[in-house]
């Protein structure tokens, strides 16, 4: 065990990467599933061990191939990305038991081995973006995860899944290329690609270079914002989530945008924080404005949506607005709210989309009109759905309340009562669209034979859903892990600002 200990950072990426190759070689769905399951279950333990190590003895720096940073690629784990790694790998593990039946139904048996192989590639890419301390390496992993995501979305059963994948491919690649342009500027300015090293060298850059630094900042922010679906750049997201296979939607909604948000936080606070005086730039104001627009516009669109997967995809855009709101506030409580909402929104959305996956498994549809009266037929599924819905709204006693509490405190610290009011008002819109689904499912009579015959799905699908719903409540009371780590990470990030 002690010989593995120093190599945990690389294991986090190598396990899913090797798993992907093995799964592709097997060509048989069941074998590939076993490999994917084993790899996914191992990852949270690796991530947990690293986070524990960071908490007890400070950040981990791992030199790939023995090439010392800043010359070689460095994997660097601190509180912030240790937390995100744990989140992504845990969601990946929890969703896997759900995948077996759901993928079995939605993907042709000849393609299942490829599906699990691509899924592991996507996981490897997301974990790689999070763990790496190298700007260009982050781009490569970003593209590994993105290319895998396009394939996963295109495997959806509806033919519109292909259009969604194509649209996402075009926009996602433009975003990644913008990020590369920004990294190119940074490399020209500093001659290094290591995040820590870039930050140190930008710090003492001559003042006449400020324009180039700002251009780099603009390009990487625009590029990463496309990936995380910040409000006006979110056009790819609703269709991609709506037409992807159920398991893919649950996984992506919980992880992909979160990793992009992490990258944005890392760039803003750890890389540019030293060199750029954010208080003198309108970055915070722009972020706040776009976040508020996301919270309201996307929520209102969700209210009028009848395809439930699209409804909660728009809700994701709105929830990302809350996360970026905390980044825009850039104070201790606001940033804590952002980081904790990364986690909280991930488990809530994974639960909601997993529940919709169960509904699709039984009904073959996720349209609002078709689920009338379904609550009595699929009580466990719909109860978990309702609990997660309460978490999304931010009811006290659920995770959503914790994040919104921190965001509201952050807004008050900036002296803005208006923002507090807007946070509460946008939560009220969430009540409307979650309430619509709950009302139709529980209080209307069953009106179709499909609903009358429906029953809760098999235990393998139900168990992850119950686990996620319980986590929604548990982390609403016990915030030592989530808000505790998030608050320490926020303190570290704010400390790095000029």
């Amino acid at each position: 065990m002690s010989s593995v200990w120093p190599h945990l950072p690389i294991l986090q990426v190598v396990i899913p990467l090797m798993g992907a190759i093995l799964a592709a070689f097997t060509r048989r769905g069941a074998t590939a599933y076993a490999i994917a399951l084993a790899a996914s279950l191992a990852l949270p333990f690796v991530a947990g061990a690293m986070l524990w190590q960071v908490l007890s003895s400070g950040p981990i720096s791992y030199a790939i191939g023995g090439w010392e940073p800043p010359f070689g690629i460095e994997y660097r784990v601190d509180l912030l990305n240790g937390f995100v790694l744990l989140l992504v790998s845990t969601v990946g593990a929890v969703i896997m038991p759900f995948a077996y039946r759901s993928v079995g139904l939605e993907i042709d048996s000849g393609r299942q081995a490829w599906f699990y192989s691509v899924y592991l590639l996507c996981l490897a890419g997301l974990l790689g973006v999070t763990i790496t301390g190298d700007a260009f390496n982050a781009f490569v992993f970003l593209e590994i995860s993105s290319l895998a995501t396009y394939v996963l979305i295109a495997l959806g059963h509806d033919r519109r899944a292909l259009l969604a994948a194509y649209q996402y491919l075009i926009m996602g690649t433009v975003g990644a290329t913008f990020y590369v342009i920004g990294v190119g500027f940074l490399y020209l300015l500093t001659g290094t690609l290591n995040f820590v090293d870039i930050a140190a060298r930008l710090g003492d850059a001559p003042p006449d270079r400020i324009n180039a630094i700002l251009a780099a900042l603009a390009f990487v922010s625009a590029g990463v914002s496309l990936k995380l679906a910040l409000f006006p750049l979110h056009a790819w997201l609703p269709n991609a989530y709506a037409y992807a296979p159920s398991m893919v939607t649950a996984f992506l909604a919980a992880t992909a945008t979160k990793v992009a948000v992490y990258l944005l936080i890392r760039l803003f606070f750890s890389v540019f924080g030293q060199a750029v005086d954010f208080a003198a730039l309108p970055v915070g104001e722009i972020m706040l404005l776009l976040s508020i627009a996301a919270m309201f516009v996307a929520s209102i669109i969700a209210v009028f949506e009848t395809n439930l997967k699209r409804m909660f995809a728009y809700s994701s855009v709105a929830q990302i607005g809350y996360i970026t709101l905390g980044i825009g506030l850039a104070n201790q409580a606001g940033l804590t709210g952002s980081i904790v909402h990364l986690f909280n929104h991930a488990i809530v959305k994974a639960a909601l989309f997993a529940a919709l996956g169960c509904v699709f498994f039984r009904l073959g549809s996720v349209s609002l009109a078709d689920i009338s009266g379904l609550g009595r037929r699929m009580p466990v599924t719909l109860t978990a759905f309702t609990v997660a819905g309460l978490g999304l709204i931010g009811t006290p006693g659920t995770v959503g309340f914790i994040s919104k509490w921190y965001l509201a405190v952050g807004a008050l610290d900036n002296g803005s009562w208006l923002l507090v009011f807007l946070i509460v008002a946008s939560s009220l819109i969430a009540i409307v669209y979650v309430g619509r689904v709950v009302e139709v499912a529980w209080f209307r009579p069953a009106n179709s034979p499909a609903v009358a015959e429906a029953a809760d799905p098999p235990l393998s699908m139900l168990l992850p859903l119950i686990l996620l719903a319980l986590a929604t409540i548990y982390f609403g009371f016990d915030t030592r892990l989530t808000a505790g780590v998030a608050s320490m990470a926020a303190e570290m990030l704010i400390g790095g600002l000029r």
Partner: protein, 121 residues
Amino acid sequence: MEALRTLIEHYNYVVTILLMVTGLYIMVARSNMVKKLVGLAIFQTSVYLLYLEPAKIVGGTAPILDPDYTVYSNPLPHVLILTAIVVGVATLALGLAIVVRINEAFGTVEEDQIFGPDRDR
């Protein structure tokens, strides 16, 4: 006049930026999905140039430790762009593969025609 001189002296960057906006324009303006991918490829290629141009130093050699040579070119941007080219090729291949599937499913690769009947709202 001064601005014009700067432009002519840095004509390589002018070409790069022209390619960049050409690629972006094609992606926005064209409805044919294959042409959009061509635009994407042009856009990505311009970024390769953006990296490679500053890496070239006139009269510079590969960084070999030898008393005869004092001017070196930085090889790292070339290596980075080699990686970026691989990523670009993979993206283009996947994009074209998806377009083939779209053509099979919809019978056309024109966005105008596809989004007529299958528009979501």
